[in-house]
Each structure stands twice: as C-alpha cells, then as structure tokens.
C-alpha cells in the first residue's frame, strides 16, 4: 500500500510535484496554490459538466454546415450530416463522424459524472480502473475539437463561386463550447480523490 503525502502530514504540489508541510498554501517553487484534497473541485466539475451538457444540445439541434451547390442549399446537423454521408455509401466516414461527435461526447459526459459520483458516493470499480478512465477522458477530450476544425477547413476552402460553397452553422460554436466546458470539467477534477477511498474506507464511508 502506498504512503501518501497526506498520510505524512504533507501536501504535494499538483503542478511541480514538490512536497510541502500541510499548512503551506502556496508552492514556493512554481507558485501554484496548494491543497491536499480539493473537495470543492467537485462543485467546479459539476458546474462545467452541466455547461457542457447544455451546450451539447444546441450543438445537435442547429445546423453545423450549410452547403450550397448549383441547384440546392442544404443545412445539416451533425447527425443528419452523418446519415447523408451514409446514404451516398460512405459508411466509414459516417461511422467516424458518429463516433467522434456523438458517441465520444456522450461517453465523456457519463464518465465524468460517474467519476464525480464515485468520489462522493463510493464506487464498485477499483481505483486503478477509474483512474485509467479518467486518463482516457483527459486524453480524448481535446480530440473532439477535430469537428470544429473540419468545419473551419471545409468552410475556408469550399468557396467555389457558383459551383459550391460551404459555410459554418451556428452549431459549430455550441459544439466548440461543449468540448471546452467538458475539458474544463475533466481538468477541474482532483484525481487524487479517486485513490483516497481504497486507503481510508472507514473515513470515507462515514462522510458519504
């Protein structure tokens, strides 16, 4: 069983890993605020999480892309765009879009909510596995931004006079905000809370 800084009455800096006595509030080495366990961080997690979920709704309701060709104008939401591609036989690309912009964001919302709940209510999943889940969310979160960049690239280059033009829809900004809020939710989470439970079950069950 690992000995933690808190067990020894010390506090570790989350930015530079320097160890200080518990009563110190600011790291002398990197200047970051010191806190042994940021329980208030859960409130921040939930606030950003809620903002992310709320932004995700207009991101799917409003059009992401406006395509104008010689004879027609079309406005596609994320999901409609994917089905449109599937209709023309590009099943691979349609699947990638559905996974990247629907499945992964939804999975992130559930995973962050689960982690936050597991810290305050207790969890059956072992700490190591929950930590891996957290790392995956942190790693994958920023990649959702790819959708916004694709919209930017398409809108910038497909400007072919009367032949075809693509313009971004208002959902792009909602989607970008949703990704940013979800990243902030994951970053606000103090991952050290995941590990506490296994070392101090009595204390935590009393609190929960």
């Amino acid at each position: 069983m690992s000995v933690t800084a808190r067990d020894k009455g010390l506090v570790g800096c989350r930015h530079c890993a320097r160890v200080w006595p518990m009563e110190k509030t600011r790291c002398d080495r990197c200047g970051a605020r010191l806190i042994s366990r940021d329980r208030a961080s859960l409130q921040k997690v939930w606030a950003w999480w809620l903002a992310g979920v709320m932004a995700y709704i207009p991101a799917n309701v409003y059009p992401m892309l406006k395509t104008r060709t010689l004879f027609s104008t079309q406005e596609d939401t994320i999901i409609a765009g994917a089905f449109e591609l599937a209709k023309y036989g590009s099943y691979g690309v349609a699947a990638i879009i559905l996974i990247a912009s629907v499945l992964i964001p939804l999975a992130k919302f559930f995973a962050i909510a689960y982690l936050a709940l597991s810290v305050s209510r207790g969890a059956t999943m072992p700490a190591r596995r929950r930590f891996v889940l957290y790392e995956v969310i942190e790693y994958i979160g920023r990649w959702s931004m790819i959708d916004v960049f694709v919209v930017a690239i398409l809108s910038a280059i497909v400007q072919l006079s009367v032949a075809a033009a693509i313009n971004p829809g208002i959902a792009a900004i909602a989607f970008a905000l949703s990704v940013i809020f979800t990243m902030l939710a994951a970053q606000s989470f103090d991952s050290r809370l995941i590990w506490d439970r296994i070392d101090t079950p009595e204390e935590d069950s009393a609190r929960g």
Partner: protein
C-alpha cells in the same frame, strides 16, 4: 533497507517494511537488490528501483516527490539519464531525465517556431472542381467563422492551432535557455514554465493536422484537393513537438529552477 546496487533508490526506514521471516534487510546480495526485491521474494518487498515508497518522513522535503495524480509519496534516489521513474500506484511517469535534454528541446523548439511562423503565410490546402479553384492559409481557415456572431470561434480556433503552440514554444525557450547555459533562471521563469504546462492540453496543432486528413476524406469524391507547403510544415511541426515532449523532464526543470 532496500538499496539498489547502483544506489538508485533508498527506502528511508524500512523497519516495518516486511515482517515476514527470511526477509533480507541487509541487502548485501547484489543478485537480489539489483531488482530491488528482497531475497525472500516477498511481493510486499518489490520496490521501485528509482522511487522508494516513503515509510517515515525524515528526509528534507526537497528530496521527496508526491505524485500529482494520486498523491503517493516517494523519496527520490539518484536517477541516471535515460532511466525513468514511474509512480508505483498509478503508473504515471514522474521522472525521466535524458542526456542533453535541454539542448535538444531548445533546438527543436527553435525549429518549431520557424515552422509555425512560416506556415502561417503559405497555402495550407487547396481545392479545385469544375474549373473553379480555391486555396487557403491557416489564417484564412481560422477566419472561416468570422461572419457574424461566430467571430469568437475564429479567434479561439486561431489560438488553439497556432497561438497557444507558439506561446508554449516561447515559454519553453524562455525557461530553458538560461538553465542550459548554467545561468540563473530569467525572472518569472517558474511562472512561465507552469503556464506552459497548463496550456499543454489546449495546444491543438496535432488535432488540426488530423482534422485536415478528415476533411480530405470528406471531400475526396467531390473535388480535387491539393495539400500546400504549410500542411507539410505543420505535419513536421507535430512530429517535432512530440519528440520535444519526450525530452522534457519536468522534475529536472523544476529542480533546476529551484536552485
């Protein structure tokens, strides 16, 4: 006492470390303490060769490291270049010094700055269809959202793909140049380095390059796409950033800044 043969780690006080009979606390047997395992082979004695799990807090605090991800506390032994120390509990990489890392990082960062700045003004991607053609630089791509209320998104996009990567490079150079020359750090270097680390998840050059690939696939059937010089510069930039990151040992930088 578990002490590696190469003196890479020390457990401070291990009186209660292993109470099982046959535990070789003297660690005189080089065959065993190479791997940091006591001669009896108890699983509880499997020590990390570079980081010793703390038993009692006697050493000075600056010889300790607390894992930022799980708060496990270790006493840092001597870690040679090329070796890496991972957290026993969450497996996060904590310390991994490399030979001449500073010089490598500075060289890579300088090259990256040149690539980013030059790529801004060259065509990134082009398209042609039915006799019409168009091409765009990175600035024009970011500007795609500029119509109406989405101007903010244009600025954010520009920041995420160019601004923040460039800023991180400059902050890294500001932190490391004096350290590599064995001079005292420039004012605010600690703050600069911390900011650079905090900005890491927000620097999205590599995501933009992959986004380009996705756009290619999406447009593949509809039009002919040409990748411009800026695209290839960005692709090289992404590789340089990854290499740079493997050279970066946060622990060594913080140690050097503290002196």
């Amino acid at each position: 006492m578990l002490s590696g043969q190469r003196n890479v780690a020390r457990v401070i006080a291990s009186s209660s470390h292993c109470d099982l009979p046959g535990h070789d606390t003297s660690s005189q047997n080089p065959k065993n303490n190479m791997a940091g395992i006591c001669s009896a082979g108890h699983c509880c004695c499997r020590a990390n060769p570079y980081l010793a799990i703390m038993e009692t807090p006697t050493p000075p605090l600056d010889e300790l490291i607390a894992c930022p991800h799980c708060d496990a506390l270790y006493h840092v032994g001597t870690i040679k270049k090329g070796e890496r120390a991972k957290c026993e509990r969450c497996h996060a990489k904590l310390i991994a010094p490399r030979k001449a890392a500073g010089a490598h990082i500075i060289a890579l960062a300088l090259a990256s700055v040149v690539l980013v700045v030059a790529a801004l003004f060259l065509p990134f991607i082009g398209i042609s269809r039915l006799g019409f053609s168009n091409q765009a630089t990175i600035l024009e791509i970011a500007w795609a959202f500029s119509g109406g209320p989405m101007l903010v998104l244009s600025l954010a996009t520009l920041g995420l793909i160019v601004g923040l990567p460039l800023m991180r490079l400059l902050l890294t150079l500001y932190t490391l140049i004096p350290l590599v020359r064995d001079r005292p750090p420039w004012p605010g270097a600690a703050r600069a380095f911390r900011l650079s680390e905090q900005l890491k998840p927000w620097s999205m050059a590599e995501i933009f390059v992959i986004g380009c690939a996705v756009s290619l696939v999406k447009l593949g059937d509809l039009a002919r796409i040409e990748l411009g010089p800026a695209f290839f510069m960005f692709a090289v930039l992404v590789v340089l950033l990854v290499i740079q990151d493997t050279f970066m040992d946060r622990w060594s930088v913080w140690k050097a800044l503290e002196k």
